[in-house]
Amino acid sequence: MSTTLTPAAAAPADPALRARVHGAMTRRRRLALALPVLLLAYLAYVFVAFDVAGIASRARPENAATLLNDFWSHKTHVTRDNRSDTLQVAIEGENKGTYPDGQTPAWVHTGPTSDGPTADGTTAGGETVIDLPDGSRITYGRDISALIERPDFGTIRVARVGRDITLELPPGAALPDWISASARRVNVTGPGWRFSMTNARTETFRYAPGWELFFFTLESPFAGRSLPDLVALALWEPRLDPARPNLAGMADDFWNNRMWRHGDVVWALGETVLMAFLGTMGAGLIALPLAFLAASNFAPARLIRLALRRMFDFFRGVDGLIWTVILSRAFGPGPMTGALAILMTDTGTFGKTFSEALENIDTRQVEGVGATGANALQRARFGVMPQVAPVILSQLLYYLESNTRSATVIGALVGGGIGLLLTQAINTQKDWEEVCYYIVLIVGMVMAMDSLSGWLRRRFIKG
């Protein structure tokens, strides 16, 4: 290792210089410290203004749990109407997910035909026994009552007496926090299930993972079959429905699945892309000639140029969503209105960017073409267009992608597209698995548009 060191850190000879450098360094240091401090001060202000502290109290982690749970699971309702004494088993409690008469999932045992064991060994007529995932079992009695057997707790009896709902706990047990009871209603919650009884009905919800009935609803002959089974059906097994081949039947039942409505969803996606496409390209077509009038090097008059510029600013400044509202009077709900709203905003955007592109062209090319005696049209075609075409194309494609995203939102207002399905599913706050499905589709759609526009850009601009 070298032993010679740089001359000791003696102060440099020129004190003026030294003062200057130290001064500069101090200033920089102050700046370096002041910026973070200012930033922190602003963030502190926003923290207070946004009541971030309050968020902690308002936030509902249990909602997050519900949401995450519902994203990938579903529940089955086993409902007895206490007035008409009829039993209904329905997935997500929806008409569309109702099991046909006489059919139930394997964990629900009904009627005298069922050989499922009960507390006293047999299933009496009119009784319903529900097996739950944690080993609990609920029995709907013939009279308006229910027995809930929880292995770790004992048997709970809930019954309707007159107009009241009564609760009997196992002897000596205190009311646990997973039971909520009043004279009108009793709620019992267990892992993966929920039970409630009111005057009107007795109901059990059982949760299970997966998007139930995603492929086929219950009325389809293909519902509930395993994949190998389906493959076999599709390829060589005899027709389940003599009227149609199995494969066609599957496609048809999937496409028209009443629960998930894949066909409608695909149309909604298409409608969203349609709005984006019409809006973007229409705006491009309108903006191009206007951009020439608004570019300082092509504008026939300063006044026209200024007027157009302000108009572009205005069209751009009003968001597409607001244009949607404004246009809905004239055009009513529907995809055309959405497309026109996108067109309005983007005409402003394109007008601005295209005219800037025109102002930035290399005049030498135009001059080169002009020097051969070319007329204005020819100069524009050969001197200007080759220069601005790549800019215009890449802008168009870029906005096509970003408008696909906007169109989901605009769609909700004009009653079309995937955005309507999504916002309504979120607002009703129950079909979270559908929300999840739509989000996946939207992200897929936007990313697909992104790749498509990237591919087109590479192909047409570089190539």
């Binding site: 963030l43 946004f50 055009f331 709900p333 995809p335 209105t337 939102v409 979120i426 990313m447 992104d450």
Partner: protein, 286 residues
């Protein structure tokens, strides 16, 4: 677009080449026109009102709003003041999410730029993550977050931040790809850590570009935060929606809010246009 032979054997070759090019362009134009025409017809058919019938009535609604606002013009100044706090909230949402988005995007960009990334293996992962952040519409995130966090500005802020991060990250990383690696290499040779290399070697180079993009984002985010208000997340967009939905009798409020919002956007737009022009042209004082 058409692969051409490196050299021509006969003039006929060039003519053939031209014909082929023309054919390709012709086909593309035909496809485009067909798409536009059929798309237009489809949308027109699916719409409640036809394009032709509607076009004459485009101004009916604005006229209705304006005439009422003109009649009640005396209310305007009061409303301007009344809605100022909402406007500030909207601006704050935009500012904070631009700030966080820029910071996060800067970090993600450095992590996702080949040649700069600290862990090159993570480059594709970070890129995908940014793609997804960009692809999810803000409104989706906001609506889900409202469910989780309750209403207020924070869900909107988070939603816009996420989207800004994705969008800026991509642009930032493109700018960083073009950065000159020599200064960073010089720093590496002195034993500087990755953070120091990025901070002194790369960030000063990309700063003008990055801040110009961030300014543009701020502008976009003002609009976005107003729009999120429109779907129920505070700020001036919410006031606008409430007034607009009420309709007749509150159109003066609509106009006041609109004027406020539009002025803000125009001012920020003009300021950032100027600032960006200066940034990109360089010429900053030492």
């Amino acid at each position: 677009m058409v692969d051409a032979p490196a050299s021509l054997h006969a003039p006929a070759d060039y003519a053939a080449l031209m014909r082929r090019k023309r054919l390709y362009s012709g086909v593309i134009v035909v496809i485009f026109v067909a798409l536009m025409a059929s798309g237009f017809r489809l949308a027109d058919a699916r719409n409640a009102g036809g394009f032709i019938d509607g076009i004459g009535h485009v101004f009916d609604f604005p006229a209705e709003i304006l005439s009422e606002a003109l009649r009640d013009w005396r209310n305007l100044p009061g409303f301007l003041l009344e809605f100022l706090p909402s406007l500030i909230e909207t601006l704050n949402i935009a500012a904070v999410s631009t700030l966080f988005g820029t910071l996060a995007a800067g970090v993600m960009a450095l992590f996702s730029t080949r040649g700069l990334a600290l862990w090159p293996r993570l480059v594709p992962v970070v890129r995908r993550a940014m793609d997804v952040m960009r692809a999810i519409p803000e409104i989706v995130v906001a609506l889900v977050l409202i469910y989780l966090l309750g209403t207020g500005p924070v869900p909107a802020m988070i939603a816009i931040t996420l989207h800004s991060t994705g969008a800026l990250g991509k642009l930032f990383s493109e700018a960083a790809e073009n950065a000159d690696l020599k200064p960073a290499e010089g720093l590496a040779s002195t034993g500087a850590s990755w953070l120091q290399r990025m901070w002194f070697g790369i960030v000063p180079q990309v700063a003008p570009n990055w801040s110009s993009y961030a300014l543009l984002r701020f502008e976009i985010n003002i609009r976005a935060s107003a729009i999120l208000g429109f779907v129920g997340s505070g700020g001036i967009g919410y006031d606008l929606k409430t007034a607009l939905q009420w309709g007749q009798g509150k159109y003066d409020e609509v106009v006041a809010i609109f004027v406020l919002l539009f002025l803000t956007i125009s001012i920020v737009d003009a300021l950032s246009d100027r600032a960006r022009a200066r940034l990109v042209r360089g010429g900053q004082p030492a």
